[in-house]
Amino acid sequence: MRKAKQWIGINLMLVFTLIVAAFLGIVVYDLLYKGSSVISFEFVFDFPRNGNTEGGIWPATVGTALVTLITALFSIPLGVGAAVYLNEYAKENWMTQLIRASIRNLAGVPSIIYGLFGVAIFVNGLGFGASVLAAGMTLGLLTLPYIITTSEEALKTVPDSYREGALALGATKWQAIRTNVLPNAVPGILTGAILGLSRAAGETAPILFTGALYYLRYLPQSVFDPFMVLPYHLYILSTQHHAMEEVRPLAYGTALVLISLILLLNISAFILRYRFRKAQMR
């Protein structure tokens, strides 16, 4: 009786786990199944034509890369900086607690609120207009808590003896961090940063109002230009387009390109982490 209960219970848990894993399977399978026939050289590298019913999604792909680049330039230095402060400098006092509480709460703020903030601060307040820069920085804010948390974890894995060794040789704290701590944390930091950026690249809500476009003839020439991005393009094709049924295949193709980029980033981060862990164990 007890054995039967255990058997049922454990298998039920296994089924639940498989259901959860199956969600990813369904997403990937459906997109591959219905999207792969659309993918061609032209689809990836050409501009959209004839009212977004033909041609490709190149400007959206480039736009995603550009916006994500700005996000990276903005959030990685600041995020790593904050992590260094928390792990290397901060004492356990009320201020540190305040910083930690802020980071945890920022991670829980809905993405659309970041969108409101981006419009108020970057688009209007700082006068960037609806642009690559405003969108990249808005997504940078969104990614910041994630990068801080993962960077701090990476810094924690660096043994204290590395710091002490440098300090004993007469290095200042900054020198110890620069030469002994940061280099050893780089793989971990990079893993977190790539994962964080892959999330940012797929976000739509925060950039609805910071310059994402329906159609663009030339690629953005400066960071102050508006842009096309893959997630917004998918949103347009699947809900706003005048010939929604006709462009379904294009929407599938767009979704497939987007998710391939993101899974590629994810997998490279996992490989990086896996190798890092193995190297550490040695």
């Binding site: 009212g51 890369a65 663009l216 706003q240 490279s268």
Partner: protein, 302 residues
């Protein structure tokens, strides 16, 4: 061990930026025009913009939809060059624009007819404009009242930022919509909804239900509409250009002050014979002589 991966990523970024710079071919000194607003107009505006850009490579027109309200808000806030709208600007909006230093200039560039659509299983063929009001105000909520089956009526409409929503309400309901009316994200979603729903009725731009070859989207029926007692079909072009079909409206473009330079050239292209022919091909209607007159008085033709 981490280095090679990092180098690979760097290379990818480098390669990307190289392709980017070689592929864009944006000519030096080109001007970027922004066109924003009505979802009804976005496909038409995009076609016009594409045709214009094919003639003049020194112009890049960036097009975004979002609704007439989006366009009007953008012109008031100085965030777009041209605002597309399927409704005129309200007094309040014009004075708000003035307080921001924007002097609103109106161009009429095409005519749109609204189609009243039902599922093709619905036995009804036509409705009067006053009956439309009753249905969309929620006063009559069963198809039986109009000789149909005993089925509760499902209302499909646009969201309250849509020019279509406001045009239809102000001209045919003269009161608020039934709170039960679905507020769909765009014309396309109304079409998709009505196709699946035998109890549905909805209003959409005619261009969304009549394909370029003149056939109607599968699963739909376009109702004939009677202002008095005569039922008029919107499918015959003459009924619209003559004004016999009751649910038509001009489509607007707003600019800050009288357009000049590339903006004027683009608008003049829209109003040219070539532009107006494109308008017809996209499922809309060319301007009537009265509309042309208004544009002329505003000095848009040379």
């Amino acid at each position: 061990m981490a280095r090679p991966l990092f180098v690979i990523i760097l290379h990818i970024i480098l390669a990307l930026s190289l392709i980017t710079s070689s592929c864009s071919k944006a000519p030096k000194g080109y001007s970027l025009l922004q066109l924003k607003g009505s979802d009804t107009e976005v496909s038409l505006a995009l076609s016009l913009a594409e045709a214009y850009m094919d003639k003049d490579s020194l112009v890049s027109i960036a097009v975004t939809g979002g609704g007439s309200g989006t366009g009007i808000a953008a012109i008031i806030n100085g965030k777009t060059d041209i605002a597309n709208s399927s409704r005129p600007m309200k007094e309040k909006e014009i004075s708000l624009a003035e307080s921001q230093g924007v002097k609103v200039f109106t161009t009429l560039f095409a005519v749109d007819a609204l189609a009243i659509i039902v599922n093709d299983q619905n036995p009804l063929d036509g409705l009067g404009t006053s009956q439309l009001g009753e249905i969309f105000r929620g006063e009559k909520d069963n198809w039986k009242a109009f000789g149909g089956e005993d089925l509760e009526i499902n209302l499909y409409g646009r969201q309250n930022n849509s020019g279509t929503y406001i045009f239809f309400r102000d001209n045919f309901l003269k009161a608020d919509y039934s709170p039960e009316a679905k507020q769909m994200n765009g014309n396309a979603q109304i079409v998709a909804g009505v196709r699946e729903d035998p109890s549905a009725i909805g209003y959409v731009g005619l261009g969304y239900v009549v394909k370029k070859n003149g056939s109607i989207v599968d699963g739909l029926k376009i109702l004939n509409i009677a202002q008095d007692s005569l039922f008029i079909s919107p499918l015959e072009k003459d009924n619209i250009t003559s004004g016999a079909y009751p649910i038509t409206r001009p489509l607007y473009q707003f600019t800050n002050g009288k357009p000049s330079g590339k903006i004027l050239e683009f608008i003049q292209f829209e109003l040219s014979r070539e532009g107006q022919e494109l308008v017809s091909r996209e499922g809309y209607y060319p301007l009537s002589p009265e509309h042309v007159m208004i544009n002329k008085q505003n000095g848009l033709y040379e």
